[in-house]
């Protein structure tokens, strides 16, 4: 099973193979939570969204067309982005805790607080971007997806992806200008 591609695992899952579904979740859970976490600014919300996305994967699996035209990861990224945008519209407040940060054992208390404040500012700047700009930055910059993959996930042209990224980075640079000089 380790050599199976996503689509093979999805087809097996569609026939009720729970191990194949578990393997598929295992492959994509980390990225799913990373995408949703940066889209929403909260790991708890991100896990709920990821859970919802994988529920849809399981439900969709029996009807998946194995014709090679659709790529599972593209479909999953699109579902994740849409779920995050829906969730954010229903609850637009940015969580104060942003994303939980792994403790930096080397930093003393003062430095740790300063670091957390800095990360909170960055998370809020990201959260305040328009939805599609934020999604483009998360998928392209943070997750390293190609322009083509981002374009498919957001259902836009490759040129539009670059335009979204330029505007997003300009907005982030403006919001974080004081941190860049400090």
């Amino acid at each position: 099973m380790a050599e199976d591609g996503d689509e093979a695992l999805l087809l097996a899952a569609g026939q009720g193979d729970r191990d194949a579904f578990g393997a598929l979740v295992g492959r994509h859970l980390g990225r799913a939570v990373a995408i949703a976490g940066r889209m929403l600014g909260s790991r708890a919300d991100a896990e709920e969204v990821a859970q919802e996305a994988f529920l849809r994967v399981w439900q969709k699996a029996p009807a998946w067309q194995a014709d090679g035209t659709a790529k599972f990861s593209t479909w999953l990224h699109r579902v994740l982005v849409n779920l995050c945008i829906d969730r954010k519209r229903r609850r637009p407040m940015v969580p104060i805790d942003a994303i939980e940060e792994p403790a930096d054992e080397a930093a003393d208390g003062f430095d740790r607080v300063a670091q957390q404040e800095r990360q909170g500012r960055i998370a809020r700047a990201l959260a305040e971007l328009p939805d599609r700009q934020r999604a483009a930055v998360v998928l392209s910059y943070y997750e390293g997806l190609s322009n083509g993959a981002v374009a498919e996930a957001l259902d836009i042209s490759v040129g539009a992806v670059e335009s979204l990224l330029v505007r997003a980075r300009r907005g982030l640079a403006s919001a974080l200008a004081d941190l860049r000089t400090s």
């Binding site: 578990g22 859970l29 529920l55 399981w58 800095r118 960055i122 392209s140 990224l165 980075r169």
Partner: protein
């Protein structure tokens, strides 16, 4: 060779890390970078924002993939059971409304018919002597 203008656009969109640049333009951009001090200055400036963005930690799932998969399957089964428990009625969901409507129609028809009978009966008992008298008046006017 790539122009500085396009190189600046790439930096503005993708940041300073060549790994993030479009694969089809990466080689040309790196060639320009090696040859142009302006390109290197632009790259250094872009790194400032990248460093900030990179300070945001990548969220890591606390849940195990097996748990997420098991929950998805359980929820799907729960939703399916919920749908099965709700009988598929097709058009039958309209039956109570239709029965009520039919009953009301019968009652309305019955009441209406009874009132017509009563009106006809009353009409038949009407004294037309006044009307006949008025006709007489009109005839007198002629």
């Amino acid at each position: 060779m790539m122009k500085l203008e396009r190189f600046s656009e790439i930096l503005a969109a993708y940041g300073a890390d060549p790994e993030h640049w479009p694969a089809t333009e990466r080689s040309a951009a790196e060639t320009l970078l090696a040859a142009s001090a302006e390109a290197r200055a632009a790259l250094a400036d872009t790194r400032g924002l990248d460093r900030l963005l990179d300070a945001l930690p990548r969220p890591v799932p606390a849940l195990d993939a097996g748990v997420v998969a098991a929950r998805a399957i359980a929820r799907s089964q729960g939703l399916a059971a919920g749908r099965a428990a709700t009988p598929r009625r097709g058009w039958l969901w309209l039956a109570p409304s239709l029965a009520g409507l039919a009953g009301a129609a019968v009652m309305g028809f019955f009441i209406g018919w009874s009132e017509i009978d009563a009106a006809v009966a009353a009409h038949q008992d009407t004294d037309y002597s006044g009307y006949v008298a008025s006709l007489d008046v009109e005839e007198d006017l002629l």
